[in-house]
Structure formats: C-alpha cells, structure tokens
Symmetry: C2
Subunit: 150 residues, 2 copies
C-alpha cells in the first residue's frame, strides 16, 4: 500500500493521553492549531470558507491493536470498529473540528482531541451531516441510558 507522509502536525494543549477528555459526556472544546507543512500549504486554498473540517491523523503513540476492548464510556467490551479506540489495525484517527481562523498555513480550530505533535495525514471539508433523528448510536446510547438510570 502507499507510503504515508505527514502533511503537517497538530498543536494541541494535550501532551499526554490522560489529558484528553474521554468517556460519556466528554466534550471536545479545546482549541489548537493544524500546522501544515510549507510544501503542502497551497492545498489550503479556499479552505477558510468551510466552518468544519475532517482531520485524518495518525495515532502515532499507539502500539498495536485489540480487536475487542472496553472503551472508557462503557463497562462492556465492543469491537474496535464500533469504537474510537486508538489501538486499531491501522492507527488512523478522525476528528471533526470547527475552523475558527486561518493564518497562512496555520489553521486555528476548536474541537481538538489529539495530542501535541500528532501527524496530520489529510484534511477534507465537512459538507453535510446525517440528520440527528436518523442517527442510531448503538452501545453508546445504551451506556448513556444505563448511566442516566443509575
């Protein structure tokens, strides 16, 4: 398969995994920067017109994977593809951020849940949403309901 190269790096307030809010009700409101490498900066043309971006990045501090595991938001095990666990067969992370401003090749964003220095693999515009009334959230909704009852 192809060789990946970082197109840039995340500047985040989080330097260790334990700093990142996790589990039920965790909010990702942290601000930070996506710093794009000089050689790829031209690819940002017109990006400031979009309010939200998909950031695809590497879990560069994850080591190996588990096909089934216990997420921080539940006390029951689930398949890795039904969770956002960092320990995945391909350690690829995906975050939706809100683009607050752009200064040259630096995008200031809200919604950071990556560690400082995380390699960015790709950025794409967020174009449409699934209406919330059509969304089923599986075990996560069940874990939330159990927590609300307890």
């Amino acid at each position: 398969m192809f060789n990946m190269q970082p197109i840039g790096y995340v500047r985040s307030p989080y330097s260790a995994t334990r700093d990142v809010p996790k589990g039920l009700g965790a909010k990702h409101e942290a601000e930070g920067d996506l710093e794009i490498r000089e050689e790829f900066a031209e690819g940002l043309l017109d990006i400031e017109g979009f309010s939200h971006l998909f950031v695809i990045w590497e879990f560069d501090r994850a080591d190996g994977y588990n096909l089934v595991g216990m997420p921080p938001s539940d006390d029951r095990p689930h398949g890795v593809f039904a969770t956002r666990s960092p320990r995945r067969p391909n350690p690829i992370g995906l975050t939706v951020v809100e683009l607050l401003s752009r200064e040259g090749r630096r995008l200031h964003v809200r919604g950071i849940d990556m560690l400082d220095g995380t390699p960015i693999l790709d950025i794409k515009p967020y174009l449409s949403s699934v209406p919330s009334d059509r969304l089923r959230r599986g075990w996560l909704a069940e874990a939330e309901a159990r927590k609300a009852e307890s």
Copy 2:
C-alpha cells in the same frame, strides 16, 4: 510512518471512476458491501447498533496529487484540502455510509461512492452530527448558488 494493511474490501456497483456520480447535486444512494477480512472480523462486534459508519479507504487507483485543482462541481480551482479530489498527498478517502444489515463479516451499506475492490483501512461509528444551521460550505455553496442563478 506506519504500514497500512487493508482490513477488507469494498464491493461496489462501480468499476470505473466515470461510473461514480460526481458534481453538484450528485447523490450517493448506491448499495454495496464492506467485506472485512476474516482475521479482523471480531472487530465488528456490536457494530450493527449504529445506523451510520465512517469508512476510511485508499484511493488505490489514484496516481500522484495536485495541490490545486478544478473539482467536477465548479469551474474554479480550489485547494486539495478544500475538496474531495482523489489526487491527494495521502490518497485517503472518507465516506459516510448507512449500515443496512450485517451478515457475518459482510456489512451491507447504502451510500457507496468507492470503486469495486477498494481497500478499506478503517471503520468507525458515526456518533454525532454538526447541526446543519451551523455548517458553512464555502466554495461549494457559492458554486451551487451560481448554478441556481444561471
């Protein structure tokens, strides 16, 4: 960076790029399958509870990249990170699909825009949406407005 391996392959009605609906107003309603490799099938545990999934995949038939290009939906050039062009520094695709049913390690989904045989890198649950009234869609909204006026 890490070596990627396909966790499975897309079974799609599209065998060539020209078959995939593109441009303004293109709808992705095609059904197809995500066929996960036997060795990763356990990672699908509980996935059927989610109505929508993120599929991260490889543009395995793209060759090289352009930092600026003309998308099928506009007659003006835009930066690659502000488009969904296949010709990206890292040829990674992202599609939101609706999960219709699961049969073992085969997920039947709606919303396929990949070619048949596309390598799948990761699957993640779609957990929340950006409310549509908070979404700005940049040059794409402008291109749509110009088309509506003409």
